[in-house]
């Protein structure tokens, strides 16, 4: 019986994420870039939320679709209303792992990240390389990867099929600080 109590107690302790193991940013930068012969479309988001568990290398990232800023206001409206349907699917979420996180040398290193990206209610496995930099008070993660618009069931009407790239480049940079 004693063993059981000890185990339950241990379980409770272990399952808590200790604050010093969690790093967070609420001003993460995420952008996407679509290049086509007709026009280039770029949108920036400076309100990405990213959390890293330094014990396990787990990472969760969330961005609000409505926080993407476009050069043209009408583009932004169409993006939210017609393409990603932000009323129905307000967030893009990435849940994944930074592989071999515990074995990383300090300073700067290239890491492999795998996980599931959810956009427009559709899930897609993503594997990418990123640069991870650890300083005394920050964990910086930056990189880019390509996503296919069609993977997320985002329909592009034939009228503008030449204006929007089929593969869009997503760039990110997160400066995580210890979460209290």
């Amino acid at each position: 019986m004693k063993t059981l109590y000890t185990l339950i107690f241990t379980l409770l302790i272990v399952s808590q994420v200790k604050s010093q193991d969690t790093f967070l940013t609420k001003t993460g930068y995420v952008s996407f870039f679509s290049h086509s012969l007709v026009e280039d479309i770029k949108a920036d988001n400076n309100q990405g939320v990213s959390i890293i568990n330094t014990k396990t290398g787990e990472i969760v990232i969330q961005v609000l679709m409505r926080s993407f800023m476009f050069e043209k206001a009408l583009m932004q409206e169409h993006f939210n209303e017609n393409y990603v349907e932000s009323d129905k699917y307000p967030k893009a979420i990435f849940k994944g792992n930074i592989l071999n996180f515990e074995k990383l040398p300090n300073e700067q290193s290239t890491v492999n990240i795998t996980g599931i990206l959810t956009v427009h209610g559709k899930e897609k496995k993503v594997e990418t390389k990123a640069i991870l930099q650890t300083t005394s008070d920050e964990i910086i993660l930056r990189g880019d990867f390509m996503v296919e618009v069609a993977d997320f069931d985002i329909k592009i009407p034939s009228v503008v099929i030449n204006n929007i790239a089929k593969v869009v480049k997503v760039s990110f940079e997160f400066h995580h600080v210890p979460y209290k």
Binding site: L11, V17, V60, L64, R66, L74, N82
Partner: protein
């Protein structure tokens, strides 16, 4: 054996436990969001009248609107298509909330200028607000020479003013409703029995049938219509079609004028007797 099972349980729980906790931290950190509700309507017009929408800062919009003759005029006039009146308009958004505009309607050769100012915006989330309010103020000058030469009206006599408080709520991504209390002041009226001040209540809405198409309706009820001529309340039904930078609106209405004072106070057609004008609004934003 028990211990083994427990250990497995702990390991499994610990692994899933971490994910849950990261997500719950995330939920906690992002709960306090307030978002402005956008795109209550696709265009700056609901049908004949204005919607609460204004364009974002710097946008220059060119509008062309047509209203044809009455559909019940038959084949001789090709269901009204032989008669057409047109309005050109230019709108410039000085800020996200403030638009100025100029236009001319060939009907009664009327010039119009107006300002639109977004007073309040519907918001959802932490600091939610239930509806949007836009102020609309216009002045129009009728330049049609429909007077005897000796009775030439002065510039001031040709002016009419319209004030509207446009109040709208986007109930969900498909359905939006607008209520538009209206006050119109005519500097000159035809007969002395007519009031210079006309009050009306507007009701309108849109129902999206797809991401780029919506069905719209709009009705203006005049509280104190002109006494000297029989006017009707204005009704308009139509469709919004959106493609890229354009919004096309196809309209069926008993009103002929495309200016507030005209369609709200001076409509004479009876919609249900077939006095219907087909028309369209096309806008192009730059």
């Amino acid at each position: 054996m028990k211990k083994v099972i427990l250990t497995i349980f702990i390991v499994a729980y610990t692994i899933t436990g971490f994910t849950q906790d990261l997500s719950s931290i995330l939920d906690k950190e992002t709960a306090k969001e307030t978002t402005v509700v956008s795109a209550t309507f696709k265009g700056t017009r609901l049908m004949n009248g204005h919607s609460i929408e204004t364009r974002k800062k710097g946008v220059f919009e060119f509008l062309i609107s047509h209203r044809f003759g009455r559909i019940n005029s038959g084949t001789y006039d090709l269901f009204g298509l032989d008669q057409s009146n047109i309005r050109f308009g230019f709108e410039k958004a000085l800020t996200d909330n403030f638009t100025i505009a100029l236009g001319r309607n060939s009907y009664e050769k009327t010039y119009d200028g107006y300002i639109k100012y977004k007073l309040l915006q519907q918001k959802s989330g932490e600091k939610a607000f239930p509806f949007s309010v836009t102020l609309f103020e216009s002045a129009t000058e009728k330049t049609l020479k429909d007077y005897a030469p000796e009775n030439k009206p002065t510039f001031a006599n040709r002016l009419t003013y319209t004030s509207q408080l446009l109040i709208a709520r986007k109930f969900n991504s498909n359905f939006s409703f607008q209520f538009s209390p209206t006050y119109i002041h005519f500097n000159t009226v035809k007969k002395s029995v007519d009031s210079n001040d006309i009050f009306a209540l507007g009701f309108g809405g849109r129902m999206k049938v797809s991401n780029r198409v919506s069905i719209n309706g709009e009705y203006y009820h005049t509280l104190n219509p002109f006494e000297s001529k029989s006017t009707q309340n204005s009704l308009a039904l139509g469709i919004d079609l959106e493609t890229g930078g354009h919004v096309f609106q196809l309209i069926f209405s008993n009103s002929r004028s495309m200016i507030e004072k005209g369609f709200i106070a001076e409509t004479t057609g009876n919609f249900f007797k077939g006095d219907i004008h087909f028309g369209f609004n096309v806008s192009r934003a730059f």
